[in-house]
């Protein structure tokens, strides 16, 4: 398809306001008579609450109220389960335990909220929080994934008989039979650890209950306003039209902002309805480390059976996945890990046993990658290790195992996060892999550069890692497109925006269909008053699911436009064209009518209409794919390690990505750059350090290090295009791709840079300190 607007590097329509400080973020909402909330959070990760003394706090002038779980009475209720386990899997054990608004008797992770203060200013509210005294009985904390299932171990949830949150087995083919045919059976243990999303904007909510109108207004930094609206209405006994949720500009989401309901989201609406005044809470950065969800901790035992040529005969895996103190998000993350533990390879036999465990650490819900990086990490590491043992070129091992391009759609016969069988819809892995090797000049590096630099005493290494990414999952999204009497287009969709440029890329789709300028399309996302049905922005699905809904709605409007214009201009539809905001007759350009005029005519003030006519030039359409679209890519890096300081410098970084049809290449590149920066953070600089009391030891940006411009390399992005067969746009998601292969590529490059040290990396994240330990330990 040759497009005129889709696929072009269009400047963003949302930028001018953002650049001049005129865009609304939740923290900017200021209402008359507004109160401020501050929370008393537990220092202990695991403790019984013996008593709470809020008397001193209540006496501070300016404090309107101090509330605990007891004060909430019947309104106190844990959050609803967001994602239940897949009904399509047999033999699943699932213990659902969800987070609570205010802790009643036992604290289960550091940072859980015990009391809330409401005051005339944030300063007074925080002063009052300091005057609250809680008497705790500390309990031993559950932190060790491997030990926490042992009998007699302290329990996070006393009503369960162990710390098991979930158990399931996924099976494809017959691994044990395949193992018997193997020339090499490799077995390794991998440790993967936590990272945080660290969006630059912390979370926040402003709530406003209008008693006279019986209407609740909520501004929330959420990635999913419609489910929040639905859930809030249900919890508070209101109709959906009595609640409006707006996620205005949101400063980065990356996953945790779709988690719901956060305790604060359950407490604030109760407060505003009780006090009849607007209430505001904006998270501060330290709170963010305790109060906003995190991800990535797993222990995996992986076994791979291979032929001596390097062909994968089967993979067997045991995953212990940490869900933190609660599991509102079900099995999404670890199912993604399983779905990606075979990479883009033709693996006929796969057996994966999953244990999900409760610990006294902060709740785990997806963070950019959402379990996929862990899957890709283990399969790529195993192939690197296998290549060494079989004395094969690691590139040949990949080439041998890629799913061939005529084998799509390829059914992996296991269940993925969308509760359907994992079907890879399309792919063409070999050319992308070869392109990556070519662009990073692999042969030249390994044959010329590396030996030369080694001779100079430099430790340089190369890593190239292919990966797949499941994207564009359902259930569905919707879009509404309408031509206004002014001739401009208004549109709405339910996927909130946290920087993904929806207002521009979706406008491009509409502009393409209706022949208008991108600037003449005004798209609202994240306002439940604008569209009633939708899910949210997650799992790299915005472009695929909402984008195709936008296309469907715009196409429908186009049909209506043509039908009406054909009548008015007395010309058959196939002789009409849409351009420049007009409908014109192809050979007689003077014979035309503007979209605006048509819109007026489509909504008569008087007179009769043909029965069955819908007024206006408007359409609302939904798109729900049967299964997702599988994007893929290959990342390569050349890095140098200083063997004394262990600091690294990335000399070259390339990313070959295939997300099908690109809506806007500028946006795609931006997403890749951002994803890679998070991937590099996850590989070498970022790690959430918990001690044996489940205390977070680096809860500030000074100690939790996200990459700055100085750590980031220049990234060359190359595009391939294998269109998605199951949606009209042929597009696939790309939001998380950048973050997925980086830790695996890093490990490969580091081992390649330090051959004398016999380094075998089976953990992530690393750090300069950790690398030092690994090097000196392996020398002994």
């Amino acid at each position: 398809m040759t497009y005129k607007v889709i696929g072009k590097r269009v400047k963003r329509v949302e930028d001018p306001r953002l650049l001049t400080g005129g865009a609304l973020f939740v923290g900017d909402v200021n209402l008359p008579n507004m109160l401020h909330a501050a929370f008393f959070r537990s220092d202990y990760a695991h403790a019984k609450i013996k008593s709470i003394d809020t008397s001193l706090a209540k006496e501070i002038p300016g404090v309107v109220g101090v509330y605990t779980a007891e004060d909430m009475g019947e309104a106190w209720e844990p959050g609803p389960p967001l994602v239940s386990p897949p009904p399509t899997l047999e033999g699943v054990v699932f213990n659902s335990r969800r987070q609570v608004p205010l802790v009643k008797d036992k604290v289960k992770h550091a940072g859980e909220i015990i009391a809330v203060v409401v005051a005339e200013s944030r300063y007074i509210a925080e002063d009052a929080v300091e005057e609250i005294y809680v008497d705790y009985e500390p309990l031993p904390a559950v932190t060790n994934l491997e030990k926490c299932l042992e009998p007699g171990h302290p329990l996070v949830h006393d009503d369960l008989d162990s710390n098991l949150a979930a158990y399931l087995v996924q099976n494809k083919g017959d691994y044990e039979a395949a193992k018997k045919e193997a020339d090499l059976v490799l077995k390794r243990k991998f440790k993967l650890d936590r990272g945080a999303a660290v969006a630059m904007e912390n979370r926040g909510i402003v709530v406003d209950w209008d008693q006279k109108n019986q209407h609740l207004m909520i501004w929330d930094t959420t990635q999913s306003p419609i489910p929040i609206r639905n859930g809030m209405a249900a919890r508070l006994g209101l109709r959906t039209h009595q609640v409006r949720v707006v996620a205005p500009f949101v400063g980065g989401g990356f996953g945790p902002k779709i988690m719901m309901f956060y305790a604060e989201e359950m407490v604030l609406p109760w407060l505003t309805m009780k006090l009849n005044r607007p209430v505001k809470w904006i998270e501060d950065r330290k709170e963010n480390f305790y109060a906003t969800t995190q991800e990535r901790e797993q222990v995996q035992e992986v076994e791979m059976a291979l032929s001596k040529e390097g062909r994968i005969l089967g993979i067997k895996q045991k995953i212990i996945h940490d869900t933190g103190a609660f599991d509102p998000y079900g099995l999404t993350t670890p199912l993604n890990t399983q779905s990606h533990s075979m990479g883009g390879y033709d693996v006929q036999n796969y057996n994966s046993e999953l244990f999900v465990v409760f610990t006294n650490k902060i709740i785990v819900t997806p963070v950019r990658g959402a379990g996929r990086p862990q899957g890709i990490y283990v399969v790529e590491r195993m192939l690197d290790i296998a290549s060494k043992e079989l004395k094969l070129d690691p590139r040949d091992v990949r080439r041998l195992n890629f799913i061939p391009k005529d084998a799509f759609p390829y059914n992996h016969e296991i269940i993925d996060q969308a509760f359907v069988e994992l079907v890879l819809d399309s792919g063409n892995y070999l050319p992308a892999y070869e392109k990556a090797l070519e662009k990073i000049e692999y042969d030249k590096f390994v044959q010329e550069e590396q030996p030369r630099l080694r001779a100079e005493g430099k430790y340089v290494g190369i890593g190239v890692v292919p990966f797949i990414e499941t994207t564009g999952v359902g259930p569905y999204e919707g879009a509404r497109v309408a031509v206004e009497p002014s001739g401009k287009i208004s549109a709405a969709t339910g996927v909130g925006t946290q920087g993904q440029s929806h207002m521009t890329s979706f406008a491009q789709i509409i502009a393409e269909e209706l022949g208008v300028e991108v600037e003449d399309v005004s798209l609202v996302s994240g306002d439940t008053a604008e569209i009633h049905w939708g899910t949210g922005t997650f799992a790299s699905r915005g472009a695929v699911v909402a984008g195709n809904a936008v296309l469907a709605a715009a196409s429908d409007v186009r049909k209506k436009v043509l039908k009406l214009a054909s009548k008015i201009l007395e010309t058959p539809e196939d002789e009409l064209e849409l351009e420049g905001g007009l409908v014109r007759v192809a050979d007689i350009p003077e014979k035309s009518i503007s979209l605006g005029e048509l819109a007026v005519l489509a909504n008569p003030f008087r007179g009769a209409v043909e029965p069955g006519t819908e007024p206006g030039l408007e359409s609302t359409k939904y798109f729900g794919p049967a299964y997702g679209a599988t994007a893929f890519g290959v990342h390569g890096m050349i890095l140098e390690v200083d063997p004394e300081t262990m600091m690294i410098k990335i000399h070259k970084y390339i990313a070959v990505e295939d997300c099908g049809t690109m809506l806007n290449p500028l946006v795609v590149e931006g997403q890749i750059h951002g994803g890679v920066s998070m991937g590099i953070g996850n590989a070498y600089y970022e790690k959430l350090h918990y001690d044996e009391n489940a205390q977070l030891l680096n809860a500030s940006l000074a100690d939790y290090l996200i990459p700055t411009s100085a750590e980031m390399p220049h990234i060359e992005v190359y595009h391939e295009n294998t269109p998605a067969p199951n949606n009209k746009l042929g597009t696939k998601g790309v939001g998380e791709a950048g973050a997925i292969p980086v830790p695996a590529a890093f490990a490969q490059a580091l081992e390649n840079a330090l051959p004398d040290f016999n380094l075998e990396i089976t953990e992530t994240p690393l750090s300069p300190n950790r690398l030092y330990e690994l090097l000196y330990k392996s020398e002994e």
Partner: protein
């Protein structure tokens, strides 16, 4: 309020006199008392740089200052750099190079770079990377920001 301070300060060319709680952070004063919400708060630890404003010509973290500390001084915030219809060349360049995604960190980058570009009109990529290494961005990976600065430098000369 028991303890108050009568603050006099010029922001974006306008003089303000306000009676405030003396421990009000400058970032809160700008955002709440003056309703200039373009300056964003990312950490309140002085690390992320989103709250950067220009004080007497130099970029400083507004989250690390108490409002009384700027008594009698001159501040420029992102709102003072340009308007939607008349953007600063750097703001234009940011748009052209797609140097912002969520836009939350962007004001801090702009207020850091505008004074810096005046003193470094012809920067190399490495110099730019170092100049903004005190501003954190989680969305862009910085690459398009670097491109934007190069573009702006060209435009401004």
């Amino acid at each position: 309020m028991e303890n108050t301070f009568e603050l006099s300060v010029t922001v974006n060319g306008t003089s303000y006199q306000k009676v405030i709680d003396p421990r009000t952070l400058l970032s809160d004063f700008l955002r709440n008392d003056l309703e200039l919400t373009g300056t964003h708060v990312g950490c309140e630890h002085g690390v992320c740089g989103a709250c950067t404003i220009i004080l007497n010509g130099d970029p400083v973290r507004s989250c690390l200052l108490f409002a009384p500390q700027v008594h009698g001084q001159e501040i420029i915030t992102v709102e003072g750099l340009g308007t939607v219809d008349d953007m600063h060349p750097l703001q234009d360049a940011f748009r052209e190079a797609h140097a912002l995604q969520c836009g939350f960190c962007t004001p801090g980058f702009l207020t850091t770079l505008v004074p810096w570009l005046e003193e470094n009109p012809n920067p190399t990529e490495e110099e730019i990377r170092e100049a903004v290494s005190g501003n954190l961005c989680r969305c862009t990976g910085y690459q398009h920001i670097i491109d934007a600065v190069k573009l702006a430098a060209e435009k401004m000369n």
